[in-house]
């Protein structure tokens, strides 16, 4: 057993209001620079929709992630040795037009325009060429456009949803959508790391944050292709690839990442998961229908004495083990099993889990009548407005049963709270719900509490980084007393 600690996350999709505050918080801190304008380390997509970059989930186009080849796990295109043949020109790399050409406005013109009969306007100016452009796309260009043919209908997750269901899904009354905030998943089996020929992309041992060493990156750009989530971006100005760094300078000082701290819907949770690194290869290459279960198996119970002993032997700090025991992520993912990884079939073992949205469970057309007054308070999950297959394609590698289990648990919590607060649940509905999901009133209350009541300290349980110890290894802290910081800073301007 090789126990490691991973900072993992849960996003509760029912709570996301699609405000994009997270994206802006991130942009302001990290990517408001030349060459990085188009990078949205955190972005919020509307589903059904095509996402950012357009159709990123379609690996026929982008060729990201791992594929199972017999017993072996291989990168879809990058990998050894084929990656090295793609350095001069990589046919599978997304280009600027798959994202958008960043722009600003000619504000000066508003002040300097000569007097005339029209109001002066501020034209859009390309941030690449400096010339006027007509904007053809942008981040979240498909925001709230789930019903449209260009976006909603082109969602790859509709591929195996029956034609009938799809037709029904786009009827005006049944149209539905939800938001999907996305960021780097800091995967346990990251494809970006595996694809980088220079070895510039690496996982931090202490907390599992995946980073790109700007010093070592040589712009071979294979991480961009390999990441199936398209969360590694190429900086066209500095000639280096960049990605979400989970705000590690904030984490190291005990603060939540900016996107999480600023989240208006308070949908985000962050905490430690202990896992067995020896199992990564085996579990990542299991049959597709076992992917979810195997991934849950890799996470260890932080209360088990054996796990604690082995963790200590591996040098994991007591404070980290304690954080793992208090981790909200452990509760959602492992204890309650109501959070699932996005697209487990990419086989990178993401460390970001989603509590799937309940909103589609309402109403069904029957004999041309829109049925919203069911005897069953919220209708049945099987008859939900959004075909379950769609959610299953997103969150459980196509397995409908898995997503149904989760939705039923979420439903049970609602029944239970309704009963507690309003006391109008009839008959055996609640008992049946508890029985079929295996929840108890106590657990339902705990889920309710963590979902809606807890404050910052319980949503983000961040272990001490012990950076002071790490720094002692590099330099004498005495020499640095009274100084403002460690490390060095270099400009990114091109020298030659």
């Amino acid at each position: 057993m090789d126990i490691r600690s991973q900072i993992a996350m849960v996003f509760h999709l029912d709570k996301c209001i699609g405000c994009h505050t997270c994206s802006i918080a991130c942009k302001n801190i990290w990517t408001d620079r030349k060459g990085a304008e188009y990078m949205w380390w955190n972005n919020v997509e509307t589903k059904p929709g095509t996402g950012y970059p357009t159709k990123w989930e379609d690996q026929k186009i982008y060729k990201g992630g791992w594929v199972k080849n017999g017993d072996k796990l291989e990168l879809r295109v990058a990998g050894k040795p084929t990656g090295l043949t793609k350095l001069y020109h990589n046919p599978d790399m997304p280009v600027m037009d798959d994202y958008y050409e960043p722009w600003t406005y000619d504000y000066d013109h508003l002040f300097e325009a000569p007097a005339g009969s029209d109001q002066p306007t501020a034209r859009t100016i390309s941030l690449v060429t400096g010339e006027p452009i007509d904007v053809k796309g942008g981040p979240n260009w498909d925001d709230d456009l789930s019903g449209t043919p260009d976006y909603g209908r082109n969602d790859i997750n509709l591929r195996n949803v029956s034609a009938e269901d799809q037709e029904a899904m786009f009827q005006l009354e049944r149209m539905t959508m939800h938001y999907l905030p996305r960021m780097c998943n800091h995967c346990l089996n990251p494809a970006c790391v595996a694809a980088c020929p220079s070895g510039a992309v690496y996982k931090r041992g202490e907390d599992g944050v995946v980073l790109i060493s700007q010093e070592k990156c040589r712009a071979w750009r294979l991480c961009v292709t390999a990441c199936p989530y398209k969360k590694s971006y190429y900086n066209w100005s500095s000639g280096k690839s960049e990605k979400c760094l989970l705000c590690y300078p904030r984490l190291e000082t005990g603060q939540a990442p900016a996107c999480m701290h600023s989240c208006v819907g308070r949908i985000r949770y962050l905490g430690v998961l202990l896992y067995d690194a020896d199992k990564i290869k085996e579990f990542a290459s299991c049959p597709e229908n076992e992917l979810i279960d195997r991934q849950l198996d890799i996470y260890l119970n932080p209360f088990s004495e054996k796990v604690i002993r082995d963790a200590k032997k591996n040098g994991i700090a007591d404070s980290t083990i304690e954080a793992a025991q208090k981790s909200p992520v452990y509760k959602f993912v492992k204890e309650w099993k109501i959070a699932l990884p996005l697209h487990a079939e990419f086989r990178t073992m993401p460390s970001l889990f989603y509590v799937p949205p309940m909103l589609p469970v309402m109403g069904k057309m029957e004999n041309g009548v829109y049925e919203s007054t069911t005897t069953n308070l919220w209708g049945k999950i099987e008859e939900s407005r959004l075909p379950l297959q769609y959610l299953a394609n997103l969150f459980s590698a196509g397995n409908q049963d898995k997503i149904k289990e989760v939705l039923k648990k979420l439903m049970t919590v609602r029944y239970h709270r309704r009963q507690v607060t309003v006391n109008d649940i009839e008959g055996s509905l609640l008992d049946d719900a508890f029985e079929s999901t295996g929840l108890t009133p106590d657990v339902a209350d705990a889920i309710y509490r963590l979902t809606s009541l807890v404050k910052y300290d319980e949503r983000f349980v961040i272990p001490a980084a012990h950076r002071e110890e790490a720094i002692e290894m590099i330099e004498s802290t005495d020499d640095r007393k009274g100084n403002t910081g460690f490390g060095e800073k270099k400009g990114t301007r091109r020298v030659f």
Binding site: V128, T129, K203, R204, E206, G239, A470, F496
Partner: protein, 240 residues
């Protein structure tokens, strides 16, 4: 006088600058060593330009290096007219690929507005030097046939005489001017490497082939520290 400057002074200066310069650049400005890919801004034209250019130049460069390292075997092989013919024609073909590639690359740089913002002055100089080099190379091959053979038998001894610090200018002084230009421009090219994007082929990531896929780096590797005998220093972090 001018000959000994161009054929002896310049080569020494170029090799010295190349060796010291690329080490210093790598050591102190390692950050700036990158291929500066512009594929993100324009991909379709790059496909032809870059693929043609690189498949040509890499083969030609390797050919020159092999000839330099083992001239005797080259002389033996090329003593058979058929083999000489085959090698010569192949090399010429790769030369044409390179020329086509660099022309396409230059055309692309000029045509695509987006690329202007990521083009440095040094990039233009690199285009110029490479273009000179490829064109003179092709002309040499055309006008002074069987270059493979005389490169190995006549030019390599000159290059080697430089290496052992007993420069023998006589060999090259009698060569046609086209060959002199090709040689001189080659040294200019070498001397420019540390100051341009050309650094990128020195960091060809061959080590990828034998490293494991996943890479995990500890700031403070507790496990290694526990098993380390060195009580004072522990294990130096390999981060960054």
């Amino acid at each position: 006088m001018i000959d000994s400057f161009l054929l002896i002074g310049l080569p020494y200066a170029a090799i010295f600058i190349f060796l010291i310069g690329s080490i210093l650049r790598f050591r102190y400005y390692g950050y700036s060593v990158t291929s500066h890919s512009s594929q993100f801004l324009e991909s379709d034209k790059l496909f032809w330009g870059s693929r043609l250019f690189h498949s040509g130049i890499v083969v030609l460069l390797l050919g020159h290096i092999i000839g330099f390292l083992i001239p005797k075997s080259i002389i033996v092989v090329t003593s058979t007219p058929l083999w000489m013919m085959v090698i010569e024609v192949t090399a010429f073909a790769f030369g044409l690929l390179t020329l086509a590639g660099i022309v396409l690359l230059i055309k692309r740089r000029i045509q695509e507005k987006r690329l202007h913002s990521v083009t440095s002055k040094m990039d233009l100089i690199v285009y110029f030097v490479i273009l000179t080099q490829v064109i003179t190379g092709l002309l040499v091959a055309y006008y002074h046939r069987w270059g493979i053979s005389w490169y190995a038998s006549s030019l390599v001894p000159f290059l080697r005489s430089l290496i052992i610090f007993m420069p023998d200018q006589a060999v090259i002084a009698s060569m046609p001017w086209l060959i002199k230009i090709h040689t001189i421009s080659a040294f200019v090219f070498i001397g420019l490497i540390p100051f341009t994007r050309l650094m990128h082929f020195l960091v060809y990531p061959l080590a990828y082939l034998w490293r494991s896929y996943q890479l995990v780096i500890w700031n403070r590797d507790q496990k290694a520290m526990h098993s380390s005998k060195n009580t004072r220093e522990g294990v130096k972090p390999v981060n960054n």
